[in-house]
Symmetry: C2
Subunit: 147 residues, 2 copies
Amino acid sequence: MAATCEDAHYPSPEAAEAAFYRAFESRDAAAMEALWLDDPGVACIHPLAAPLTGYQAVIAGWRGLFEGAGRFRVRAELLAALAQGDTVIRVVHEHLTLGNESASRPPILATNAYRKTPAGWRMVLHHASPLPADEDRVQAAAARRLH
Amino acid sequence: MAATCEDAHYPSPEAAEAAFYRAFESRDAAAMEALWLDDPGVACIHPLAAPLTGYQAVIAGWRGLFEGAGRFRVRAELLAALAQGDTVIRVVHEHLTLGNESASRPPILATNAYRKTPAGWRMVLHHASPLPADEDRVQAAAARRLH
């Protein structure tokens, strides 16, 4: 695992995103440390939680989260991607399956952003939020009511 | 208003963000049309709603939302900003005050992204999600439980 972290050099945003969900699923804080850009402007927002801004707070957040977490699997499904130069933004559904459950929970919606550096692609943003299961109904309701 | 839209040419991400919240508060769909980048990769996520992806869906979402909305004011408070080249990501608290209420509602958390184009800065992402009022408690709880 140490070798993986030290050698982390993700050649594409897709590789960085795969590494993110691998680190998330395996509750690997060292891999998160290697993946995130060490910058005061990075931000991580867990569902319904206050935003964590800056590298140190983001990493501390992952460490705290992993300490209390049981086993789970996660699969990311891409909804939209926007690339420009050295920044890529990807919107995904996260499908989590907890413990020994056979079906995944209602998806979490996440916006992830990555930046190209001389050491490969690094994560700069994760904003996750709940998404009710019945999307069509919710979408219609959202279009009728105030933001 | 028409002149404003036709002449929209925001010289900075800050100017584009100010235009976004001005368009939001004034329920001005034409201003939203002018502000957003016309690209299939743009995405807009209203709180607890399914993601809208692509320019047409994003604009239709704002039109629908504005049709049902009453008067309100909104103030954006910057929490984090990350700039690289032609893309800027900004995380903000949105403080909304509805109708004749004197106090703002618990803040909404939003990640906004902007891209520089030959015609100035354009919006490419808006991901808004609820944020409970007691942030410290929520932050601590989030760090203990699974994402």
